[in-house]
């Protein structure tokens, strides 16, 4: 297939996934903000949200003080930056439109409809009335587009590049989420430590992370235990059966990459395979000994590097 087509498909999938993850994180922050908590704590949540998307600077330039309403507005319908949900949905739709001949009619129409509907919802002020419903809707549309993709696309390169985009973006987003949330507690997280906060604050913090990746019930099912940060980290980093974990995402990347391999992609495949192996054979106590922040920063660098390799090998060849 055309390199440009693969490029559009890859980014179409990434933007849709990014929109979903942003909606997930905003929703959890919003839900958490409804719980009784200190103003500091609340602000920390929103600050973290901006940090995940590397938007703290841009936000402060625009709004200055950090508060829930403004951060949500900024992340949902501010068109001046590329990470808001509205910008992601537009980018997904523009990429789809550029290759509408290479995706199924159903997938194009789903993507186009998502964009049109989202704009209608913003116009009708649905978001002001009920933010959660809008977040829920974005998540649902992303599920739908993924379902339509898998359910209608021929299993050829087009599909593989879409899947690579989805998994790579998800790996990136989950890692950022973990980084910010572990960072939020204490400078760097090196395993169980003494905190001065009441245990129930911890519970809400960690369960919020789990919920943001649809992992709360999974955690209970897998560990049948109280919620402790080590296990949250293990679930979201190393468990290959947890669909939004780093391990699971990298499995998806490696498997799909193998299906599209070409003459120059060996090194990118090697790097991706090595990252997968590190996750497959890694242990959470080792990761915590390194420090979560250091570990995740390194992980993000490697994901970024794989993304650049894919781009060079397949999408925008010289």
């Amino acid at each position: 297939m055309l390199s440009r087509t693969a490029d559009h498909l890859f980014w179409m999938a990434r933007y849709m996934e990014r929109a979903e993850n942003t909606a997930r994180m905003l929703d959890i922050n919003y839900q958490t903000s409804l719980l009784p908590q200190s103003a500091d704590r609340a602000e920390q949540g929103w600050r973290g949200m901006l940090g995940i998307s590397e938007l703290t600077g841009a936000y402060q330039q625009r709004h200055g003080k950090i508060d829930a309403r403004h951060v949500m507005d900024f992340m949902v319908h501010d068109e001046t930056h590329a990470s808001s949900i509205v910008s992601c949905l537009r980018a997904a739709r523009e990429n789809a439109r550029a290759v509408r001949g290479s995706i199924t009619t159903e997938l194009w129409e789903t993507t186009n409809q998502t964009w049109l509907e989202f704009n209608r919802m913003l116009r009708q002020l649905n978001f002001e009335r009920d933010p959660s419903a809008v977040f829920e809707w974005v998540k649902f549309r992303s599920h739908l587009s993924r379902g339509v993709t898998v359910g209608t696309m021929l299993q050829d390169e087009s599909l593989h590049f879409i899947r690579i985009g989805t998994f790579l973006e998800r790996a990136d987003n989950t890692a950022r989420l973990l980084d910010v949330k572990f960072h939020a507690l204490a400078g760097d997280y090196f395993g169980r430590e003494q905190t001065n906060e009441a245990p129930e604050v911890d519970f809400y913090h960690w369960s919020a992370i789990l919920r943001s990746v649809s992992g709360f019930e999974i955690y209970r099912k897998v560990y049948r235990n109280v919620i402790v940060p080590e296990k949250v980290a293990e679930l979201l980093i190393l468990r290959p059966d947890m669909p939004r974990s780093l391990a699971s995402c990298m499995n998806g990347v490696v498997d799909n990459l193998r299906l599209v391999a070409n003459q120059q992609s060996a090194d990118t495949q090697r790097r991706a395979g090595r990252l997968r192996s590190d996750l497959e054979f890694g242990r959470i106590d080792e990761i915590l000994a390194t420090g979560m922040h250091a570990y995740l920063t390194h992980f993000l660098d490697r994901v970024n590097d794989i993304g650049a390799g894919i781009s060079r090998d397949f999408l925008v060849p010289a």
Partner: protein, 477 residues
């Protein structure tokens, strides 16, 4: 203005080929028709059947995309009329292809004094690069869109005229196909009441035509559609046709020339291309040969083309035959190349470059339609009867300044067809663009795209100027 020919109603009642439809229409509750029209609009928007208009933003914030209004009342053509049209179209396109070949070879028609030499050689659309180049099968205009109108005669009957030949990159065929899909979706019962000739196989015929003109020796040609990109006004159509044919939709930057062949960049490395259905104008095809700053084409393409290692559809230089100053000679071309009488009539045309004609035109401006020779899309024209005095005088000044740039024709009262408008159903002027494919043979699907001028009394059907479209039926019985 003269009375128009109405496609549905004659002085003595509903025409026979509309009788069944009319009866059905009269039975439809107003509310249900309105609901179906809304449904059509919704579907067109979801499917993204849009065209781009620069510098505007629509209510969905989708930037520059607009829907072309679709009218639910079809334009119906009886079988015997289509048979005559089809024969005339075949003949005309055949002669036009012969003409382009001749222009770039021995110029027999010029030698014979049928077409003045300067009309050919001084034509801005004449491409000296094409002289002596042989194209596969001698086919230049693989896809031709011939614009046809019907005007009323004094006795109340109507006559079809060719208004314009589009031999470069005619567009609109996707609307023909989507309109039919829409009518079948909205009113399936109509298709049990009528035997409507299908059109959905157009992409198949197109692919067959394109494969048939591959460079010699290529057995399994790799065909692509070349688009200027997603911001082009006809992008939807480019993507649609590529998808329907199952071929790649490429942009200039996807192509490159190496060792005398054209390749596209794929995820598995370079892949050779044999036939390009290009939806990019000549000027932008090759920055080395034409406009140097064009990023829409592929550097070195012309060279490969001249060596016969790539086929372009349509060929470079076809504009020399669809220019409005060449148009008046088409009937003579038919006689010259085919030794046949033209089956389709031209609209009588005055060439303003000719002194005698110019004098006549200047004396009758309020009665005439004056068009730019190279104009398209309904721009740069004067519709005398609809223009104000000030507009006429302003145009007169332009015309006198550069007469060779204009032709003039009597105002034809284009036929009308009942159409849904704000106030209900009312007659609106229409035209017809059948699409004629030339490969190994000349082929077409029955009908074409009917465009309708939605403004009352307007004769301008172009979508960029408020025109809409209708489904076009050719009845099989």
């Amino acid at each position: 203005m003269k009375a128009s020919f109405d496609e549905m109603n004659s002085a003595s009642g509903v025409r026979p080929h509309y009788k069944v439809f009319r009866r059905w229409l009269d039975e439809q509750p107003v509310a249900s028709m309105r609901a179906r029209r809304d449904e059509a609009e919704l579907v067109f928007r979801r499917v993204g059947i849009t065209f781009a208009v620069y510098g505007t933003k629509d209510e969905d914030g989708a930037g520059t995309e607009r829907l072309i209004p679709f009218d639910v009342i079809p334009r119906i053509i009886p079988k015997h009329e289509w048979q005559q049209l089809e024969a005339g179209l075949r003949q005309r396109v055949h002669a036009l292809n012969r003409f382009v070949h001749d222009v770039y070879h021995r110029q027999e028609i010029v030698r014979a004094g049928v077409v003045p030499q300067e009309q050919v050689l001084k034509n801005a659309q004449f491409r000296p690069e094409m002289v002596g180049v042989d194209v596969p099968g001698g086919v230049y205009s693989h896809i031709a869109g011939i614009d046809i109108v019907r005007a009323a005669n004094p006795d109340g009957s109507g006559t079809y005229y060719v208004l314009e030949d589009n031999l470069r990159v005619p567009s609109g065929v996707s609307y023909m196909l989507e309109n039919r899909k829409m009518t079948m979706r909205l009113f399936p019962e109509l298709f049990t009441l009528h035997r409507v000739a299908p059109v959905a196989h157009y992409p198949d015929l197109l692919l067959e035509s394109l494969r048939a003109v591959a460079p010699a020796g290529v057995n399994e040609p790799s065909v692509v559609v070349l688009t200027p990109g997603m911001y082009n006004s006809a992008y939807f159509e480019h993507a649609f046709l590529a998808q329907q044919m199952g071929v790649e939709l490429v942009e200039g930057k996807d192509l490159f020339v190496k060792d005398g062949f054209v390749y596209m960049r794929t995820t598995q490395g370079p892949h050779r291309v044999d036939v390009i259905y290009r939806r990019v104008d000549d000027d932008f095809l090759d920055p080395q040969a034409f406009r140097p700053h064009s990023t829409l084409g592929c550097a070195g393409l012309l060279d490969v083309y001249r060596h016969g290692n790539i086929t372009l559809a349509n060929a470079i230089g076809t504009g020399v035959a669809d220019d409005k100053s060449i148009y008046p000679y088409v009937p003579k071309m038919i006689e010259f190349y085919l030794a046949e009488k033209p089956l389709l009539q031209n609209v009588p045309t005055y060439l303003c470059r000719d002194d005698k004609d110019l004098r006549y035109v200047l004396g009758h401006l309020p009665d005439l339609v004056v068009k730019e020779v190279h104009g398209a899309g309904g721009y740069g024209m004067l519709v005398g009867p609809a223009a104000t005095r000030v507009e006429v005088e302003a145009f007169r000044a332009q015309l006198v300044a550069n007469p060779a740039n204009y032709i003039a024709q009597p105002t034809l009262a284009l036929s009308t067809c009942p159409t849904y408008v704000e106030s209900g159903i009312a007659p609106r002027h229409i035209d017809l663009r059948p699409f004629v494919l030339s490969g190994k043979t000349v082929q077409m699907v029955p009908g074409g795209l009917t465009r309708v001028a939605l403004k009352e009394g307007s004769l301008v059907v172009n979508s960029s100027q408020g025109g809409g479209t209708k489904d076009t039926w050719v009845l099989e019985v």
